[in-house]
Symmetry: D2
Subunit: 289 residues, 4 copies
């Protein structure tokens, strides 16, 4: 299958590589010549424009930083929709606003381009290993058409609803993840301030109803204050912006989400944007010292 | 071993029964004659006063509603400490303020009574099955002495630190549990308000970094709005009072904990005190309708 | 002086009328023919396009609903900047994002148009009476040039800083106003739930360090649950969106502001968008019933 | 009139002095000999026990740090109620839990002692000048009986409801005051982070609907970061503990109050307990740096 791939960053590059390894013809595009060279070195092709990337593609995948970049790639005069052939399957794996995904998908549909929003979770590790979780919004038949391609980049691939639903689920995921980090951080601060070694305490929590993937994977590094990413605060801050915007768009008030967004904004304001999101612990500590 | 057991309610009664089944001599005490009769019916003995309960005991276990009852039982003129023989092992499995546990343990130590605070989690189900998690605060040698007895009521039995540490860990457990319920509730509300079926969405969350015991066990019942306890809002409200008091005592500010406490207080104010704590979802819904 | 006035809604219409009364030549523009007729009826002129409104103007004033409308009017191919003559003084009295005001002002400066962001407070009453408070951002010399015109629509006219500063001060104003309403609402709910008549209680608060304009003006209507606007929840919701976006743009975490935004979003989700912002009391009540 | 005065600290001492100056016979009692000497030096009498203070008194006033001290003074075997003559008017001006005030008043009534809870606001300055605001809970006839005496220590003296109502109103006052400080702090941080001089900005806020006694009195010192008390964070922290306990007692959820309590707890955890409560600004700054 001919796959155009736009956006070869930390996530996009290993995803494209996994598609090359699966014997697809992958035509990559990125603003960085270096990244293009890296794709070429492992057997991918490269394009010098979006038009060229899209030209002969059956499927185009994008992995871009945020909503404005997706809009630019989709809507620019020389962009994706302007050059897409009818029937193109367009899978956007970026994490962006549900509202933007819906807008792009509707504009695509008007040109007979089949769009899916398919944000991923699992981080750089999951992208390299091809074990991402992928939350897909869009039409059921387009999801079926995309499943085989996506199976080379992820292991959990779920159709969660109509246009934008992938983004909404990703937003829900990020608010829960951010919130659990905050709660675990408060538990650690409470234990330590009370003179209790958090190690055995969090072991008990991990084994009961308070248990979570985060407690399982991150409690030891959090107690040791090791905050190497992982998933950076800067990205989680972007994602909480999406979650609060999605809530606003949906007309709902989410008090815990609102506070988690402020705590992650604080982590960034304190200069921890480049640390792992478990560094929310540093915010709760700083509030108390 | 001769075990005195004070407080034969929903939790205490099955715990005492498990000790009877393990061939201990259990002398029970409760204000309710009915509960005493139930213990006698399965082979336990009964006492008509705290003094009588404590008289020949090697170990006394209490399971009481809250701090004032523990203080009353421990400190009353005809109470536990007044009648304890030197060397008694006193295990309080109530969930109360860490500060109260420390006060009781110190007063006990002055009379050569060895106190442990040993709050449990796992609910009525765990009490019946003998599979509670038990967080124990106190001296290491007293913990070792208690381990065999506790093994008949729980499966995870961890020494988490000095006097009061069991309560602090329990408080940390409850703030994390309450918080995750709140986050899952906000995720459901966001998904539904956005026109996304929460079923597949929460399935994805459950399988990734957002995963938790609560998502695993409770997401289906929450989506169906089934809130049969389980663990009642009223009790979780009591526990959040302990958590916020423990934070205050330890001199720390815990913003998410503070908000979770208010949300659970709202559930109670809305008349849901008798529902399962997953009914926090009703609070987030009511904020939005 | 020749003044173009774009946006003749609830606020813009009485502001334009006050300028007509002050013997300025006012050329109004709006999408509504009815509003144009109303301006003509009191001696204003009307235009049928932005180009015509701007053509002979020394000053153009806009009063528009939100950022997108301001961008549209300023940047459209047949918009304000396309037709402005060099040296035009452009005063935007809309409440929008500081970021948008800066963008408009910079684009204006590039065409020798002198832009000021000049959001107002004081509501419809203040617009009718010409007693608005006006917070002006932009260059000092442009502020001086605008002062005389603004004196016909407002009484407190303050230059608060560079481009965008007017909007930032307005955002700060709205977060404080929303927050005080929330605090007064919580005070009323606490008093009533405690069996205390809030009347004399709030009288004492109003007379001491807790005193505020809001307590002074609104405590009686809040206690009586009279929520006729005044200033609608819908508009305050829009303004809290601006305040949280401004905080994000400035890179700061504002926990109370974040929560106030969620409470006002709740008022809207509960269907109170058309009530006065003092109806935040209904949110605090609903949380508790 | 013969007045017993128990508790001659920062507030009690000048209050007692004002009563001496008004030609009352004031018999003071305090654990500190120095404070007693100070009262004697200005013409007061002193007692060496509560019993002696209460013996010939028509009115007893207490000004004590917190609920436990009031309970101790009222209920101890050699305490106030044990020695009060029938008909005594007992005015407690301490700021304590409404629940404690009700308990004391009911016990007093059983001995024909007429109790009023009468917490004050206005600080040391108000105590010295005799210009305190006094919120009085209790029976109307007892309030009338107390009015003349209270007129020597305060200027605003309001009967706000039954036993405990004075404390509830004081709690409401403190949650509003703490909240406004937090809001003004967030406004300052937003303005400064946006490059806007907060001086003119807060001037505008102070003149409009955002205006408050706090903006009027404290905006200049807050901008200059002058935090000399005034009213200490430590005391406001105590008062927020009373406010959150009162909400819990009344069965209500108060989300903003809960967060204000956490922010003031943070100020204390950061070591600012001895600064003025306007130092809440330091907390908002620290969250962001």
């Amino acid at each position: 299958m001919n796959i155009g791939f736009i956006g070869l960053g930390i996530m996009g590059s290993p995803m494209a590589a996994n598609l090359v390894r699966a014997d697809h013809t992958v035509v990559g595009y990125d603003v960085s010549a270096e990244r293009l060279a890296a794709l070429a070195a492992i057997g991918g092709k490269t394009a010098s424009s979006i038009a060229e990337t899209v030209a002969g593609a059956d499927v185009v995948i994008t992995m871009l930083p945020d909503s404005p970049q997706v809009e630019e790639v989709a809507f620019a005069g020389d962009g994706l929709l302007a050059h897409a052939k009818p029937g193109l399957l367009y899978i956007d794996t970026s994490t962006i606003r549900p509202e933007t995904s819906r807008k792009v998908a509707q504009a695509a549909a008007a040109r007979d381009v089949h769009a899916l929003d398919a944000p991923v979770s699992g981080g750089e590790r999951g992208a390299v290993d091809g074990t991402l979780s992928i939350m897909v919004g869009g039409r059921a038949e387009d999801f079926e058409a995309a499943r085989q391609v996506l199976s080379h980049v992820g292991t959990t691939i779920v159709h969660v609803g109509p246009y934008g639903a992938g983004q909404t689920v990703k937003a829900a995921n990020q608010l829960v993840v951010g919130g659990i980090y905050g709660l675990v951080a408060e538990a650690i601060v409470l234990l330590e301030a009370s003179g209790v070694d958090p190690g055995p305490g969090l072991d008990v929590l991990a084994g009961g109803l308070a248990g979570s993937r985060i407690l399982e994977l991150k409690r030891h590094s959090m107690i040791k204050r090791e905050f190497t990413p992982g998933f950076r605060i800067d990205l989680h801050h972007k994602d909480m912006g999406i979650a609060t915007a999605a809530a606003r768009e949906a007309g709902v008030s989410l008090p815990l989400t609102g506070m988690v967004a402020q705590l992650i904004a604080a982590a960034r304001a304190q200069g921890h944007g480049g640390l792992d999101h478990s560094a929310l612990l540093k915010v709760i500590e700083r509030i108390n010292s």
